[in-house]
């Protein structure tokens, strides 16, 4: 049995939000205190709200495990990481950490714009916990890794943002901790650089380091982690295999209203004319799936409830990539499919063409409008599906479609042909 690396027992963190006004200047504070002296209920009136960013979180992580911490915004992921990396103290509970910790909540922490690359390597190295001897030892390797040798004696304020990140990560990558905590820092830089980052993680994994990884990118979590902890409202609601955790995180088929639509057509989605109850994804043969290979067709089944008759409805389905890039849209109006007036609850299905989307995860947005795109009846975000391909990722763009290629002499012929065909009669 392997050794324990991190033990967390009933860890809780409480934040206080001043309810009515902020008391951040001395004057506010004084008048506030005075008020509460004179009015016996003064304090209760201004009643500062408290909320638990983390509540009774307990788990154990063994040496060599790579654990993904997932959850929606505000679930407490970052708070957990901040407590474990000692940036903030817990309100209750305790945790024990066995090993040298490195935490990368950000690359390039403490970089000073006026200092040169060389000077920043030493400064940043010392800040993230390397000794001077270690930095000296790895200095050449860091410079090599960063690919910015020729600018190493230039102040980093003159660096491009790409160079800056590369240098910053190069320093971080030479920190060889026994326990590493990362907060979405690896999703920067170009393709070649990302490969280096993955190689660094891989190397740490081989040396039996323990890694805690916070991410919104389920694809990265699935690729790296063998275990996930799913947080929701400060509590652990799942701790187990990555596959199951991600499924739970993404929800089977539940949908939620889009905030902007709530402003436009009413805050309470249950009062909307139409509401999409569930979104399900199947492959062509009708198998329920949420992981597809590049080039597969997807069936998307929408189950809706109708509160008010909608004539001439137009169903729209969009795929939004995890980095919020809107990739494509299908709608009944433009696809030439006329939907009869919606009178009772029902179902509608979309079969996409072969999807040549790159390897990533995609959220399904569903809207119901009228055929002229004038009225909005509902706008929701449904489940997420993944597309898998060994090579193609976001660096290849949104889609990858096959192109046609020609050798030089053919190109010339082709041009000549077009030229005569196009310009001369």
């Amino acid at each position: 049995m392997s050794e324990i690396a991190i033990r967390v027992e009933n860890l809780s963190k409480k934040y206080t939000i001043p309810a009515t006004q902020r008391h951040d200047t001395l004057c506010d504070q004084l008048s506030y205190r005075l008020k509460s002296v004179f009015h016996r209920n003064g304090r209760a009136e201004c009643g500062d709200k408290t909320f638990w960013a983390l509540k009774d979180v307990s788990f154990e992580i063994k040496e060599g495990e790579i654990v993904g911490i997932i959850g929606h915004n505000g679930a407490g992921k970052s708070t957990l990481l901040k407590i474990l990396s000692q940036i903030t103290l817990p309100t209750q509970g305790r945790s024990e950490i066995y090993g040298r910790v490195g935490s990368l909540l950000e690359v390039g922490t403490g970089f000073h714009p006026e200092l040169t690359g060389r000077e920043n390597i030493f400064l940043n190295g010392a800040i993230i916990g390397m000794t001077k001897a270690e930095i000296n030892l790895h200095f050449d390797a860091i410079v090599d890794f960063s690919e910015v040798e020729q600018f190493i004696d230039m102040p980093v304020k003159r660096y491009s943002s790409g160079m800056y990140v590369k240098l910053a990560f190069a320093v971080s990558a030479h920190l060889k901790p026994e326990i590493l905590m990362i907060d979405e820092v690896l999703s920067v830089g170009d393709l070649q650089f990302q490969r280096k980052c993955m190689a660094y993680i891989e190397e740490l994994r081989k040396s039996n380091s323990t890694i805690l990884f916070v991410s919104h990118n389920m694809f990265a979590v699935k690729a790296m982690c063998n275990r996930v902890i799913l947080l929701s409202e400060g509590k652990i609601c799942f701790d187990g295999s990555a596959e199951d955790g991600i499924k739970l995180y993404e929800g089977p088929s539940k949908t939620s209203a889009l905030p902007w639509a709530q402003n436009a057509i009413g805050a309470d989605p249950s009062q909307w004319d139409v509401f999409i109850e569930n979104v399900e994804t199947f492959d062509e043969t009708g198998m329920q799936r949420d992981l597809f290979n590049y080039g597969e067709r997807i069936r998307i089944r929408l189950g809706y409830t109708v509160r008010k008759i909608v004539s001439n409805p137009n169903f729209l389905v969009s795929f939004i990539r995890s980095d919020d890039v809107a990739c494509c849209n299908y709608n009944t109006a433009m696809d030439g499919f006329s939907v009869p007036s919606l009178e009772t609850d029902g179902m509608i299905e979309l079969l996409t063409p072969p999807l040549n989307l790159v390897s990533e995860s995609y959220k399904i947005f569903v809207l119901v409008r009228d055929a002229k795109f004038e009225n909005l009846y509902c706008a929701q975000v449904g489940k997420t599906f993944h597309v898998r391909h060994d090579v193609l990722n976001t660096h290849f763009g949104v889609f990858h479609e096959q192109g046609e290629w020609f050798l030089p002499n053919e190109v010339v012929d082709h041009k000549a042909f077009n030229f005569t065909g196009g310009l001369l009669p």
Partner: protein, 282 residues
């Protein structure tokens, strides 16, 4: 590596839990991170005069110009006595610790707020931040000290054995700046008002310290109250150690040193208490 050796004993390497005692100061951690302290000071010194036209000459010019102004205003116009010492030397000897103190205080007060990106992103003993900010200007002080030596040679003043006590008074100066700085830097995180108060406070403080005038000008009955200002002891000490014509008032020294000691211990305890919420409120 000694760290792995420790984990080999199945002993927790680090326990994270809410802090209980007020006096759980973890000063050992500061000592362990002394290399980082060195790098932070080095950064402060290195970046101070980057992208300036005359660079480090500012270090020398600032106290020199103040000294000339003081000589013109206080000595020539106001005819303030200087205990029989040439006024320029008399003023410069006091300006030496004072300009250090004013600068260190200003920098230390804004140090934690200025390091917000560090405080919210990475762990290291937070005490290093004000510590580095108050130590970095010592470099400036050393340069000014060289100017003073030139001045003394010019006025043919020979240092006495008291010079050996100078490091002691230098230490007291640094501790004063650090002590006040610890309070103000921690307060500044929560109340940004501190940023406006400090320059004002510094100005008042300057007139409450014997920089432009000798202590002998202060009436005897107020002397004890006056020496509650720790800079009185510091400046008296500097004048005695460097110019050595008059032995210092030991009562003043003891009172000043005691005040500094209380401020410093209180400052550390307060800073450690506030430190817990730095990342949350900054």
């Amino acid at each position: 590596m000694e760290l792995t050796a420790e984990t080999g004993f199945k002993k927790p390497f680090k326990i994270i839990e809410p802090r209980k005692g007020l006096f759980q100061l973890e000063l050992g951690g500061v000592w362990q991170s002394r290399e980082l302290l060195y790098f932070l000071i080095w950064r402060d010194v290195l970046t101070r005069y980057k992208q300036t036209a005359i660079g480090a000459a500012w270090v020398v010019l600032q106290p020199l110009i103040t000294m000339i102004l003081f000589t013109l205003v206080f000595s020539r116009l106001a005819k303030i006595p200087s205990d029989g010492i040439p006024y320029p030397v008399f003023a410069f000897t006091a300006l030496l610790p004072w300009s250090y103190f004013a600068q260190a205080l200003a920098r230390t007060s804004s140090s934690v707020v200025g390091s917000a990106n560090l405080v919210t992103k990475i762990y290291f003993p937070r005490l290093l931040i004000p510590l580095a900010a108050s130590l970095a200007p010592v470099v400036d002080l050393i340069f000014s000290f060289l100017i003073l030596l030139v001045l003394m040679a010019w006025f043919k003043i020979v240092p006495t054995w008291g010079l050996l006590a100078l490091p002691l008074f230098l230490g007291l100066t640094i501790m004063t700046a650090l002590a006040v700085g610890l309070w103000s830097s921690a307060l500044n995180v929560k109340y940004r008002d501190v940023g406006s108060i400090i320059p004002f406070l510094t100005q008042i403080w300057m007139y409450a310290s014997p920089i432009a005038y000798p202590v002998s000008l202060v009436p005897e009955k107020w002397r004890l109250l006056y020496s509650l200002n720790p800079m009185v002891g510091v400046i008296e000490g500097f004048r005695w150690a460097l110019l050595g014509n008059k032995s210092p008032d030991f009562m003043v020294m003891i009172v000043s040193a005691t005040v500094v000691a209380f401020l410093l211990v209180g400052g550390i305890v307060y800073f450690k208490k506030m430190e817990q919420s730095f990342a949350d409120v900054i």
